[in-house]
């Protein structure tokens, strides 16, 4: 073979981008080495399907600018994340059930019963966030260094298409767990299309397959969520193809001219990408193993309910800036147009930016406007998480205006008025200094800012009393449940809570499993036998009740919601299976950022303790509806549940104090375990993974240094070569 594709492009293209114009030192044209089959068998195969040769020219000998900095590794990171998402997604589909009545429980089934299911699901849900994080860095890098300018316009537009597909895929994936946020996100986003004049309502009905978001919507979103990643992969292939035709940009924006300005993709770029993928995996693993729900919304652990909208509807963090733009416009149609325009405008960037200089390095004014734009996006993200009222709305409008001004006015004008610094004529002339420290600082800052953007959905208004923090044995990276506490907590549930609250997702067998209360097999059997479980039909066709077995689920205290409400004065006692993950409160800035690092993930347990102890006399001036109690920590303060605990109501046999305080902590710990039965396994495996990734990243770093050694510090005396030729 011999790079037939290369030759063709070379021969027919008038573009003559740098990968095809490279010169040797003596001025003769440089062609990257091609694959030479080492034996007859491979030669025979290669003559018939030159795929090894194609991979070789594309992934090994392909010349890359030698001065690429670490911002250029995010393309590799994105490829890695796409593979992770596809692999974990394909595996999750083996267990997920896309049916409105079963989707929520099937996700919990994955979390509880499937081998390593919790790991696969957390990898996938946090992987989406990591994918977008890397995507945003990749995009901002392109903007900073002018990577969208001629001849890379198509390359950039393909990237915008990938980004649009990612947004659609991420949104539809978020609907699949069929929690409250899933359902209402689906409702809000599909309703965007109702803004279209005349046909809007028909389009929305068509999208839903019904008169509201429901079962048909879920199944079609599932189908498309499975399809679109492969569409993304296909566009990624085009993106990489276009990249190889026009060549990579580099921090100077000046094309390499000689072979000496470049290095082979493998091993140089490969190992550099590998090192940063290792670092990125550490960040990813931190989320997956220690703060897996930090970027999610507590409300999504409540099953979808078409009758109740959560108090704050907030999209996932990666859509927040666009959500802020949508809400800042007081007109429905214009808001939707602004939302889509804010994304589509990216595709016109190559023509909006009129400057002939690519890199912000030589554009002092643009550099400032670039960072202003980054800050605008981050602030819009923050505003997207805030309620649309008062000063937030005014700020959103100003920043939305600036977002568009940046593209429509600033960029075109800058090219005309800006006086660029002298651009080096070649890479070897360019001064390369100070890149790394600035890069690492910017990375740390950017990561913190992006992680920090989401706001927790709070059941409580800001400014109210926050539940006090308790000390939990299961907190922190090495936390473990206290078996005695879980057993006592189960007793509190058994003696008090279960009169009204179901625990539907748990089976009796769970009580004996590793990492939980760890009752003995005999104890589990005895506990199960206390319960009456409905079974049947028998040979006569009748349903009957029998004693529970370890494999049975906890039977509900009421046969249906209506019966539960009727028995509880109209209030519905919520199921307690995932309650500890479904209840959170707003921590406020800067605590929610600090929480990610501490890591503090026990908000649900703290809230429950506070609630159980939070009953107080109704304050003067507040009228309490009949049958309701005042509770300091309950959202709105009027709670239907009378104070459930009092000193001595549950008998402990292990000598622990029989006080409300102790009961509340014990049952909160028990419910934390019920919500996250694999917590101990997660933290244990997380520690192993962390150690491994740190070691691997260290090895990759030193390998990278070794590989790059001759490039970065040329050996001057070797064979009497002139050191100047390789000095930059």
């Amino acid at each position: 073979m011999s790079g037939s594709s290369t030759d063709k492009t070379h021969g027919t293209s008038d573009l003559k981008a740098w990968p095809y114009n490279l010169k040797r030192e003596d001025g003769s044209p440089y062609e990257p080495p091609t694959y030479k089959p080492p034996n007859a068998i491979l030669r025979w195969f290669e003559d018939r399907l030159p795929i090894i040769g194609l991979s070789y020219t594309a992934g090994v000998s392909y010349p890359t600018p030698r001065n690429l900095n670490y911002w250029w590794t995010f393309g590799g990171i994105l490829t890695f994340m796409l593979v992770v998402q596809i692999v974990t997604g394909v595996v999750l589909v083996m267990h997920y059930i896309p049916e409105a009545g079963m989707a929520f429980n099937s996700v919990e089934h994955i979390m509880r019963d499937v081998n390593y299911g919790w790991l696969l699901r957390y990898l996938h849900s946090n992987g989406a966030s990591m994918f977008f994080l890397a995507g945003y860095i990749h995009m901002f890098r392109g903007m900073y260094y002018g990577s969208y300018k001629a001849p890379r316009e198509v390359l950039w537009i393909l990237g915008v298409i990938i980004y649009l597909l990612m947004m659609a895929t991420g949104f539809m994936g978020y609907v699949l767990p069929w929690g409250q946020m899933s359902y209402w996100a689906a409702t809000v986003i599909t309703n965007l299309f109702s803004a279209i004049p005349v046909v809007g309502d028909a389009i929305v009905t068509w999208l839903w397959g019904g008169y509201s978001v429901g079962g048909p919507t879920l199944t079609r979103f599932f189908s498309l969520h499975y399809l679109l990643p492969f569409a993304i992969a296909a566009v990624v292939v085009l993106h990489i193809w276009a990249l190889h035709v026009v060549g990579q940009n580099n921090p100077t924006g000046v094309d390499p001219q000689t072979e000496k300005d470049t290095v082979a993709f493998t091993p140089y770029a490969t190992i550099k990408d590998g090192f940063f993928i290792g670092l990125f995996a550490i960040l990813y693993a931190w989320f997956v193993f220690y703060i897996p729900n930090f970027l999610g919304h507590a409300d999504n652990y409540i099953q979808a309910n078409p009758a109740v909208t959560p108090p704050h509807i907030v999209p996932e963090w990666y859509y927040l800036p666009f959500y802020a733009i949508l809400r800042s416009i007081p007109n429905k149609l214009l808001g939707v147009i602004a939302l889509f325009a804010s994304i589509v405008i990216l595709a016109f960037l190559p023509w909006l930016d009129t400057s002939r200089v690519k890199s912000a390095r030589y554009r002092p004014l643009y550099r400032q406007f670039f960072w202003l734009f980054v800050v605008t996006c981050v602030l819009l993200g923050w505003l997207g998480s805030k309620p649309p009222e008062g000063g937030y709305v005014i700020m959103s409008r100003l920043l939305t205006a600036w977002y568009f001004i940046h593209f429509i006015i600033v960029l075109p004008l800058l090219g005309l008025i800006e006086q660029p610094k002298p651009v080096p004529r070649s890479l070897s002339e360019a001064a390369l200094k100070g890149g790394k420290a600035a890069f690492l600082i910017a990375l740390a800052f950017g990561t913190a800012a992006l992680i920090g953007t989401p706001q927790r959905v709070a059941a409580q208004q800001q400014g109210e009393v926050q539940p006090p923090r308790n000390t939990w044995s299961f907190a922190g990276p090495f936390g473990k449940f206290d078996r005695g506490q879980l057993q006592r907590g189960f007793k509190v549930y058994h003696d008090v809570c279960q009169t009204c609250h179901s625990l539907a997702l748990l089976s009796f067998r769970n009580l004996g499993e590793e990492g939980g209360p760890e009752f003995s097999a005999a104890e589990v059997t005895a506990i199960a036998a206390e319960y009456k479980v409905k079974d049947g039909p028998n040979d006569q066709g009748d349903m009957f009740e029998r004693p529970g077995r370890p494999a049975d689920h906890f039977p509900p205290p009421f046969p249906n919601e209506q019966a539960a409400r009727f028995a509880n004065g109209g209030s519905l006692p919520p199921d307690m299976s995932v309650l500890a993950k479904a209840r959170q409160y707003e921590r406020g800035f800067p605590w929610f950022v600090i929480d990610a690092f501490i890591p503090y993930q026990e908000l649900g347990a703290d809230y429950m303790v506070a609630l159980l102890k939070g009953y107080a006399p109704t304050p003067a001036g507040m009228t309490m509806p009949s049958g309701m109690q005042y509770n300091t920590y309950f959202p709105g303060h009027a709670i239907g549940m009378p104070p459930p605990l009092s000193d001595g109501v549950v008998t402990y046999t292990d000598g622990a104090p029989q006080t409300v305080d102790q009961y509340a902590k014990d049952v909160a710990a028990f419910l934390m375990w019920a919500a996250e039965p694999t917590l101990e396994a997660r933290k244990r495996i997380g520690f192993e993974v962390m150690i491994f990734l740190v070691v691997l990243s260290g090895l990759l770093y030193f390998t990278k240094k070794k590989v790059w050694h001759d490039i970065e510090k040329p050996r001057e005396l070797a064979r009497g070569q002139d050191p100047k030729t390789t000095t930059m």
């Binding site: 499937v114 790991l119 491994f692 691997l696």
Partner: protein, 175 residues
């Protein structure tokens, strides 16, 4: 490059091998959850717990089918004639020689409990059919006798026995 000392390539090689090995270990470890997730999950395993079967309603000569771990289990209340047939066959005539005593619990000759899955390719044989008064597999024509032993056809082995025990004369626990 001949001036470089011999130590350096060694150190470099070691680093490369260590990095490659660590990457390989990581990739292999990643496969563990991806493969393990396809094994039966905890709820499936728990649902495979032992079951109890009351034998008293089963008349002599009757065969019933119950399910354990989603597999059909045949419980045959054998008549004297059927027991005799099963016990009198010379072992040499059997493709998979096994005495009838080895296929029933001592003192419970009348009860044969077998997994009703043909050992050929997994179809479910029909009871009381075939030339041997036992089971006949409609898929490929395997024939089993009153002890569930293969007598003719492509199946290589006798119908397997599930783990079970008599809790009393009229009750067994399978599993």
């Amino acid at each position: 490059m001949t001036t470089i000392s011999a130590a350096e390539p060694t150190r470099r090689d070691f680093l490369f091998v260590a990095t490659g090995a660590a990457t390989a270990v990581g990739a292999a470890a990643t496969l563990v959850p991806l493969i393990a997730q396809m094994n039966p999950d905890a709820s499936t395993i728990a649902a495979g717990a032992p079951i109890e079967v009351d034998l008293t309603p089963i008349a002599e000569g009757q065969i019933i089918k119950v399910f354990w771990r989603s597999k059909p289990i045949y419980i045959s209340h054998r008549s004297k004639k059927e027991i005799e047939e099963a016990q009198s066959v010379p072992l040499g005539d059997l493709p998979d020689p096994q005495p009838d005593q080895a296929r029933v619990k001592p003192g419970h000759d009348q009860w044969l409990v077998v997994i009703g899955i043909c050992t050929h390719l997994g179809c479910i044989p029909l009871a009381h059919q075939g030339d041997y008064d036992g089971w006949f597999c409609p898929c490929h024509g395997s024939q089993y006798d009153t002890s569930g032993r293969i007598r003719r056809g492509p199946a290589p082995a006798n119908l397997p026995l599930p783990p079970y025990a008599f809790l009393s004369d009229g009750k067994i626990q399978i599993g």
